[in-house]
């Protein structure tokens, strides 16, 4: 049974069809949510909320061929909601001072993966969402904008600023992309 048929059946209330669809996408979306939120529990909350919303609202999906993009949108908006809820309580991830570049000494023994991990931590969650969706999920920026519900210019701007911040973090440049007003740090 192809994906379109599964979507059609799920739209008509076939939960087994929905389970098959969910099984096809949940692993990558869970991984993407973990990259964005940097927290397994929060990622679980966001993915569960996104999939639950998908099941509830499937009958309103106009084009079955757009299911994957639509599911992405729901899950990543749940991520953003989680971020906003979380911003009302203390951050759980490590905070790095903008005055302390991640790579004071780029030793060859440090793996690229760890450098990337540290650079991602310096991004704000909204910026990480753009980077993860673009690079990890391979979504073009117009799709990222659609999924996050932001103007395409904003997605481009976030992408640009994120790469600049990551470059600063990895190459040891002290120039951050956003203005840290007094007392602000980058997560």
């Amino acid at each position: 049974m192809d994906q379109r048929e599964l979507v059609e059946r799920a739209r008509r209330g076939d939960h087994d069809a929905f389970a098959a669809l969910a099984g096809a996408f949940v692993a990558r979306l869970d991984a993407a949510a973990r990259l964005i939120l940097r927290d397994h529990e929060l990622a679980r909350d966001a993915v569960q909320e996104g999939f639950l919303a998908a099941w509830r609202n499937l009958p309103s999906l106009r084009d079955p061929d757009r299911f994957e993009a639509w599911l992405h949108r729901l899950v990543f908006r749940s991520c953003i909601d989680v971020i906003r809820r979380r911003s009302r309580r203390p951050m759980e991830v490590e905070l790095l001072s903008v005055d302390a570049p991640v790579v004071a000494d780029i030793a060859s023994v440090i793996a690229d993966r760890d450098l990337l991990d540290a650079a991602l931590k310096r991004l704000q969650p909204e910026q990480r969402a753009v980077v993860v969706m673009h690079y990890y999920l391979g979504m073009p920026l117009p799709d990222v904008a659609s999924a996050l519900g932001i103007p395409i210019g904003t997605a481009k701007s976030r992408h640009h600023r994120s790469l600049k911040a990551m470059r600063s973090a990895i190459d040891g440049d002290l120039t951050p992309p956003r203005p840290p007003v007094a007392g602000e740090q980058y997560a």
């Binding site: 569960q48 210019g153 481009k156 990895i170």
Partner: protein, 415 residues
């Protein structure tokens, strides 16, 4: 090649190592939970994204009487003929590509994947590009006659389409993942920046027939802009240490040159003055006049100056743009002590400022803003709550638009 360049090339696989994609242990619980929830009927979410006056009204089941119908038909024909005559008489009147113009429609992308128009004076709304397609990112040409938009295809690739201002005649122009595009002055061409493996090449696309001419530039391009009054493209690049550089090249691909005087700490995109002689941009760097400061550069002389306005001390100012008449600047001012940011309009030579709109939180990407064509208002979409507003510079009440999320653009009309 810097460490970042090396990592950027391997970003997808490195991310896959950081977060392996495995079926999570909560998957079965999640399915049990969804299995206990009833689905929402399709009609229940119809009005979620569309304002009521766009949703189709219920059709009366009673058959209409013939005579009123004929009168209605004749009236409609007369109005249509009148509109056609009026449109014909207006066809040749186009706004100058730069400088103040009359305000037209505000065109927005709805979260339902449609392109819709709002008359900011009457509040009347209409759908320009509807149907089951997923469309976003409308952007008007400077003559207000056409707009581009992105249509997400079933392959999740954003194709670029062009349509007349009323939404008619929509056709695909570029079928490729495009990172950036910008209209030429006359609206007859666009410059596009594509994303390819290891590079971002630019091309000029003719709107009439879709003919593509590669722009022979060496550097990897970030963004590209058409220089007003000159058949030139400005493109921005980032060097190995994240330092910015701006270049100019003729639209025919000749005479590429680096613009002198630009601070290497430039951030955000530069914006041209209406005559193309100046650039305004912001810097973020260490040192006097570099941290969150707005700069104006005279392109011909290379003279660059950092601007200070009333209240600038202790704040950071970013994302500047010229007003249509070139006398003012609009920018974001980030307040001290994590006090959020506000939109500010100030004279280009510094001095007293006008703050518009409320304070919004610092921890987001700011606001996507655009002056109204006549320069009396600002169209702003705030990232933290996604709301879109028309803010007046004269202090009158702000107007919230019924949609937000997928991009906005304001049509320019002849005065």
């Amino acid at each position: 090649m810097s460490a970042f360049d090396r990592i950027e090339q391997r970003m997808p696989e490195l991310m896959a190592e950081l977060a392996p994609a495995t079926v999570p242990d909560y998957f079965d619980d999640m399915l049990r939970q969804s299995g206990r929830v009833r689905q929402r009927p399709a009609w229940a979410s119809l009005e979620r994204w569309l304002p009521m006056d766009v949703v189709a009204r219920p059709v009366s089941l009673r058959g209409p009487a013939l005579r009123p119908l004929l009168i209605l038909l004749l009236t409609g024909l007369l109005i249509a003929a009148g509109l056609a005559l009026y449109a014909g008489s207006q066809r040749t009147r186009l706004p100058e590509p730069f400088g103040p113009a009359r305000n037209g429609l505000v065109v927005v992308a709805t979260q339902d994947g449609d392109i819709a128009a709002v008359d900011p004076v009457t509040g009347t709304t209409s759908v320009l590009i509807g149907g089951p397609t997923n469309d976003l990112g409308p952007w008007f040409a400077r003559d207000g006659q056409h707009f581009m938009f992105v249509r997400l295809t079933s392959e999740d690739v954003g194709a670029y389409w062009v349509a007349n201002a009323d939404g008619s005649g929509a056709r695909e122009l570029v079928h490729a993942p495009v990172e950036w595009f910008e209209w030429s002055d006359a609206g007859d061409r666009i410059v596009v920046v594509r994303r390819e493996t290891g590079s971002r090449p630019a091309s000029i696309v003719r709107v009439a027939d879709g003919t593509v001419a590669p722009l022979a530039v060496i550097q990897t391009i970030e963004h590209a802009f058409w220089r007003p009054g000159h058949d030139q493209i400005l493109f921005t690049t980032l060097g190995s240490q994240g330092k910015a550089a701006y270049f100019l090249i003729n639209a025919d691909g000749t005479d590429q040159e680096r613009i002198a005087g630009v601070s290497p700490d430039a951030v955000n995109d530069p914006q041209f003055s209406a005559d193309g002689s100046q650039l305004v941009y912001a810097t973020w760097g260490l040192g006097e006049g570099l941290q969150g400061r707005i700069h104006i550069l005279d392109i011909d002389t290379g003279i660059d100056r950092a601007l200070m306005f009333d209240g600038s001390a202790g704040t950071n100012e970013l994302d500047p743009q010229f007003s249509p008449d070139g006398k003012s600047l609009l920018f974001e001012r980030y307040l001290a002590d994590d006090g959020g940011y506000r939109l500010v309009v100030a004279p280009v030579n510094g001095g007293s400022v006008t703050t518009i709109g409320p304070v919004h939180g610092t921890g987001t990407g700011g606001a996507a803003t655009e002056f109204s064509p006549d320069g009396t208002q600002v169209l702003a979409t705030y990232e933290d709550d996604g709301s879109t507003w028309i803010l007046s510079l004269d202090g009158s009440a702000p107007q919230q638009l019924p949609w937000s999320g997928g991009g906005t653009t304001w049509q320019r009309l002849a005065p």
